[in-house]
Amino acid sequence: MTHRWGMAVDLDRCTGCEACVTACRTENNIRIAGPEQSARGRSIAWIRVERYYEGDFPDVRVKFRPVMCQQCDAAPCEPVCPTYASHHNEEGLNAQVYNRCIGTRYCANACPYNVRFFNFGNPVWERPLELPLNPDVSVREVGVVEKCTFCVQRITAAKDTAKAEKRELRDGEIKPACVQSCPTSALVFGDLNDPESEVSRLSRSSRGTKLLEDLGTLPKVTYLQKQT
């Protein structure tokens, strides 16, 4: 049976510490834009923690929502790409072929979650910042769009290991960088095609909602929070 990767995000557990953001940056060789370019909207963060404030001072509540690519089943970013750089792979991931991307940025406009990012320049890592680059992840050049991959390199590695050991993948064996680094275990990753997996169980929870569900994008990320 093919896999169908998904994630559950427990907003009641999220403390907004942004460890996931940092981990993702290190794992996926995300470029450093610098303070000046960041202020001009050129920084890249495959996962971000959105902060929303509810109520008026002094009764203010802060809400955190980690937002990464929702890996939609009906992804608006895919049909609009003229070169198939943005496409659906057989495990349900919205894959991006950097080499095929010519930078129309149409996918980034079509994405309702704004989780696609454009390389406004060539990435630069000043010495010694190039040393921790992850050899399993390609560095993106100027003019291409990039996005969260659910750490596809870890998925592939885990599948290879399981195959070498002649066994099935275990639930929870694959942990994308954000999931691995979350101190409150607010993020859970797994196979939605396996009804016994934790992510499947959480996705069916009555606490679960999808982000911008009414747009009909069929996201594979479920947000859990206390329903009032």
């Binding site: 929502r65 049909p79 930078g103 149409y106 079509a110 979650y113 320049g121 100027v142 994008t217």
Partner: protein
Amino acid sequence: MDIYAEQKINADLLRPLRRTSGWFYLLVLMLGGIILLGGGAWFYQISNGLAVAGLRWPIFWAFYITNFVFWIGISHAGTLISAILRLVNASWRRPVTRCAEVITVFALMIGALFPIIHLGRPWLFFWLIPYPSERQIWPNLRSPLAWDFFAISTYLTGSTLFLLLPIIPDFALMRDQMTGWRKKIYRVLALGWRGTTKQWHRLEAAMQIMAIAIVPVAISVHTIVSFDFSMSPVPMWHSTVFGPYFVAGAIFSGIAALMVAMAILRKVLHLEEYLHPVHFQNLGKLLLLMSLLWGYFTFVERLTTWYGNSSAEMAVFWETQTGAYAPLFWTMVFCNFVIPFPILAIKRLRTITGCVIASSLIVVGMWLERFLIIVPSLARKHLPYSWGSYRPQPVEIMITVATFAAMVLLYALFAKAVPIISVWELKVGAPVLSPEEEEERRALWRTRP
């Protein structure tokens, strides 16, 4: 038509080809300089990446796509209008058609450049073209950008043919009139035109076919351009009205650009006897109709959005109505409707000067309209955390200015090589003047010194 009148038409319309004043060279030099600066700006952008533009997350489309839609819109000036006027056999069209058709061809060339300028990796633009490659990858035919490629290349081919077909007899005329190296060039361009009955029949038949075929092509082109927006779930983009709204806006801005061009040609090339106030009167009426249509579409689009009251769309709605983009929005309404409407509706104001004022405002207003469709929606997409704002950078402004210069330069060079008014069509059409036109022509002759 007597031989003297024919000779006079020849003399008047071929004068710009025969004599060139120093001002022309100065103009070419100036425009060429601006275009070179624009080219330099593009080169600077390619070598530094789009970081030098004002684009940012999440506003990934702005000035360049605005220019793209604007120029493709302007291109509806010619072919569509001249095709419609040919089909309804409006005899006053004769001096207007060619200067309209030229706008189409050049505006399309410039417009088609912008999707390439805006690419992250413009050197790979040819991946949009379906060509058999060793990797056996075709463009994604589900993408409106792939549709754009087909629409624009079809329209460019069609409108180039539509422009060139009726020039053939004029090329032959110039072959007969000119001497030296020009004669040689025009001989090649005239394609062996001898003016036999058979050739005239074939030309008429070809023009009839092209005039009918080009209308659906022109309408589909701007509909497909509108699909670039309406096919994505972006607030206030995802709208069923966009197809006709864009087509109406395109014809609107196209007529306006045509009237400005006509007024300039009339003054600079001394064509007062050929481009009459009646042409501006008639085109002014058409422009009035399009202004009303544009106002209607804008009103309908805004009203349905407001009644629909979807939270994401209302964010964009208020941003344009009262927010940061409100000054631009209301300038657009004034330029496209409030000021042109009385000028074009009242006959006494619908003079050449009045039409030029209205048209210039409309060209500005329609550019703003394209900008206001694209940018505020991207700046206010669904999740408020990802809202942003856009400010154009010098590179974008420079390239934009350069394309306007390129339009003027191409137009000026064309007017030097080909009579900007179709000589043979004018001669054919001369006897069937309406009494009104006849009177007007007489009045003009009287006032000539």
